[in-house]
């Protein structure tokens, strides 16, 4: 390769890196809200966003098209989230179904929820099994298509549809009965 071509490549590489970094920077808020909706814990959500962004920087070259950045980041974040839970000291190698138990341990987090109606809603969401909560958040908050959710969660599209359907039914039922109490919402904890 000629020297001038090498310099041109370096320049393009630098431009591409800058575009990627700028795009990543713009996703911070979106990622935080997704992390929060999954974890219900501000500090954990912040950590999760940081870990996701660092992982994205590390794996930058795996993303072929910046248009797919949202789905790619969501997939990274999901893997980080599940890894954190699985390698958690108290829940080492937990299955996904076991992760849900983190949501049902008593603990007060009074600063987290201010509005009474939202309180009940968050508690209902927290009571959903994680596999249902994650697809509902990806569909309703993030606006991903079923195909994208299937790719992010590495789950067949039929399963995604069934989880969304069952999740919403359960959420509606929880909200109707609203037997959840304010001080029973619990964030996921790392240790």
């Amino acid at each position: 390769m000629k020297f001038s071509s090498k310099v041109a490549d370096l320049f393009c590489e630098s431009q591409e890196r800058r575009r990627f970094n700028a795009a990543l920077e713009n996703k911070y808020d979106r990622l935080y809200r997704l992390a929060y909706a999954w974890s219900h814990h501000p500090a954990m959500a912040q950590d999760l966003v940081q870990e996701t962004m660092l992982k994205a920087l590390e794996k930058r070259k795996d993303l072929s098209n910046l248009e797919h950045l949202d789905a790619w980041l969501s997939k990274i974040m999901r893997n980080q989230f599940l890894d954190n839970m699985r390698f958690n000291r108290r829940w080492e190698w937990a299955e996904e179904s076991e992760i849900d138990q983190h949501f049902s341990v008593d603990c007060s987090e009074s600063e987290m929820i201010k509005k009474q109606s939202q309180d009940a809603f968050y508690q209902a969401m927290a009571k959903l099994p994680f596999d249902q909560r994650e697809v509902i958040v990806l569909a309703d908050l993030q606006g991903f298509s079923y195909q994208e959710i299937s790719d992010i969660t590495s789950t067949p599209i039929g399963t995604v549809m069934s989880r969304i359907s069952r999740g919403r039914e359960k959420l509606r039922s929880l909200l109707q009965h609203s037997d959840v109490q304010r001080d029973k919402v619990v964030p996921l904890r790392r240790n």
């Binding site: 020297f3 041109a8 320049f11 970094n21 920077e25 940081q50 660092l54 079923y146 909200l175």
Partner: protein, 230 residues
């Protein structure tokens, strides 16, 4: 509610995942089925409730300026001139490089000499990985000479690397004594979390910990630093 419309179809309808024909079928069924109408109405309300519950969650402030402002701070014309200058300079260098077809590794190395800036990122408390990071840093500093700069950034469990009681502490101290172009950063947030958990991390005084690791990494990447993950 009509049996012809399946539950999963209703959800797919409100999520906009059906084809035009499938939508038409549901809308036709709705005309004669008030129960179906109510169901769709309720599910739509639930969907928007999920969105509104999380879309307005306040995002914690980050203690730095947006990267995007710095990214495009150089005027495009200046960037184009710089690029042209570099390419022309490269052409001149290749002309002077003599008989090996104008392709030489040496001028490229010279051109890059003042750009040898590396971030070494560690997020593990694995002692082997820590030793690997220190070896990597030593190689970079030794091979790069005075033109190289290395920032060693740790987060998550990697902050233990900078603890005074870390088994690799002596090697790190030796590097710091030997090279003044090595800077250490521990993630501010990771240190705060460790404190909250009651873990004692007694970092050595040379460590900077005034910002989260992601901010430090992104800042440097935007300044053209090379990223090495251990």
């Amino acid at each position: 509610m009509g049996k012809s419309v399946q539950t999963y179809q209703i959800h797919a309808y409100i999520d906009g995942q059906l084809s035009r024909d499938e939508c038409f079928e549901i809308e036709e069924a709705m005309q004669f089925d008030s129960e179906l109408q109510d169901e769709i109405c309720h599910l739509r309300a639930l969907k928007s409730q999920v969105k509104s519950a999380y879309a307005d969650i306040p995002v914690p402030e980050r203690d730095r300026k947006p990267v995007s402002k710095r990214v495009w701070s150089i005027p495009k014309t200046a960037a184009a001139s710089l690029f042209l200058g570099v390419v022309m300079g490269a052409g001149m260098l290749s002309l002077f490089s003599g008989q090996n077809g104008g392709v030489s590794q040496q001028p490229l190395a010279m051109a890059q000499a003042d750009q040898q800036k590396y971030i070494v990122h560690l997020d593990s408390d694995d002692l082997k990985k820590q030793a690997e990071a220190l070896d990597e840093i030593e190689t970079l500093l030794k091979d790069g000479g005075p033109n190289v700069k290395v920032d060693f950034i740790s987060n998550y469990k990697g902050i233990k690397m900078f603890d005074v009681n870390n088994p690799n502490h002596d090697q790190l101290e030796k590097l710091l004594g030997q090279y003044d172009n090595l800077t250490l950063y521990a993630c501010k947030r990771a240190l705060e979390r460790a404190m909250q958990r009651g873990e004692k991390v007694n970092v050595i005084p040379q460590v900077r910990h005034d910002k989260p690791a992601i901010d430090a990494v992104v800042e440097r990447l935007n300044e053209g630093w090379k990223y090495i993950k251990i």
